[in-house]
């Protein structure tokens, strides 16, 4: 466009490619669509989370070990609630057992039990968790490990559920 073109013509050009004017109706429909999509997206995520929690909380007891095979200060790998969910069972004392998901709450690396330090350690980014309750102690993780609810039935240790 030449310099003699009035400025209003530059704002409202005849050429389709130069036309960037957005009508109020286009803007509001865009706004409604985007916020609607966000609303349904977050709703879906929330529903998925609830469903997972409900699935994990549902009683699905699995025999994971016997007391006799667990010396104090030793961790045992087991899978709960599905074969794709590796977990660690640790015997802290004669009558105290804890179990956590092996998935680090930072980036899902498998964590290992360091008996010498008494920590659960994530080798990826030097994350540390307290073995007593799974709370994060050091490194990037900010959330505690998922805890597996355990039950002693005589000499058998059963996994009863997951506390996310």
């Amino acid at each position: 466009m030449s310099d003699s073109t009035p400025h209003w013509r530059k704002d409202f050009p005849i050429n389709w490619e130069d036309d960037h004017y957005v009508t109020r109706r286009e803007f509001t429909s865009f706004l409604a669509l985007i916020s609607g999509a966000l609303f349904f997206g977050t709703g879906l995520v929330a529903v998925r989370g609830w469903w997972q929690r409900w699935r994990l909380a549902s009683p699905n007891s699995v025999l994971i070990a016997s007391v006799a095979e667990m010396p104090i200060g030793v961790a045992k790998l087991f899978y709960y609630p599905t074969p794709n969910d590796p977990c660690l069972l640790v015997r802290l004392s004669v009558d105290r057992f804890v179990a956590y998901s092996q998935r680090c709450t930072h980036l899902s690396c498998p964590v290992v039990y360091w008996a010498a330090d008494g920590h659960i350690h994530c080798p990826c980014h030097e994350g540390r968790f307290a073995v007593e309750d799974g709370r994060p102690l050091a490194g990037p993780p900010r959330r505690p490990l998922s805890r597996i609810t355990l039950m002693l039935r005589g000499e058998e240790i059963w996994a009863m559920g997951v506390e996310v």
């Binding site: 409202f12 005849i14 050429n15 389709w16 490619e17 036309d19 004017y21 009508t23 109706r25 286009e26």
Partner: protein, 203 residues
């Protein structure tokens, strides 16, 4: 690929009108005006499609910024969310192409089948015209086959309009000049309209 109109070849079969109305974007509504030149003295008809001016008067006068021209030079029909139905373009177009459709409260006009021509197809009207009055194709082809020459410069009073669509006229003219004032006077004079038809090289 260019569009050429040769009114002298028009046989008034209405094929283009019905082909245009077949389009799904404006089904039942034809964008082609098939007019009698002077019905009292001749059965000659002439098809009018949008000439797609290089500097479209309709878009210039639109107060609602509803008429746009694409990079290919196609002047689009009014944008539905913007058109206010003021009919400024209807009055301003020197070729009388835009029409105000009251049922839609919107201006509708030929967009040279933008959905088809933009993907390499011919406009509907040009595909059905049996006499070649509406021709869409390479310029060399029509220059080889026809005696008439394509022309795209029109003079309306002091306004010179160059168009994307060509009109086939007799050899020897560079531009077509229309006497707008006498046209208006004739329209308002009583009795049968005896329009002075533009002749090549006159004026």
């Amino acid at each position: 690929m260019e569009f050429f109109i040769d009114p002298s070849r028009c046989i008034g079969c209405q094929g283009c009108v019905h082909a245009c109305a077949e389009c799904e974007s404006h089904r039942g509504l034809s964008m082609i005006h098939l007019d009698f030149v002077d019905r009292s003295s001749s059965p000659q008809t002439t098809p009018t499609v949008c000439m797609h001016c290089e500097d479209p008067t309709c878009a210039r006068v639109c107060p609602a910024d509803a008429i746009k021209q694409t990079a290919e030079g196609i002047v689009q029909s009014a944008l539905k969310p913007r058109c206010i139905g003021c009919s400024n373009c209807v009055l301003a177009c020197p070729f009388g192409v835009p029409r105000y459709v009251a049922a839609m409260d919107q201006m509708m006009k030929c967009d040279m089948c933008y959905d088809r021509t933009s993907v390499g197809l011919k406009p509907m009207c040009a595909t059905v015209c049996p006499s070649g009055a509406l021709y869409y194709g390479p310029r060399e082809e029509i220059e080889k086959r026809r005696r008439e020459i394509p022309l795209n410069t029109f003079v309306f009073g002091r306004q010179v309009v160059k168009t994307k669509v060509h009109l086939m006229v007799g050899p020897g003219s560079e531009e077509l000049e229309f006497d707008v004032m006498s046209f208006i006077e004739d329209r308002h004079s009583p009795g049968p309209a005896d329009l002075p038809l533009p002749r090549a090289g006159e004026g």
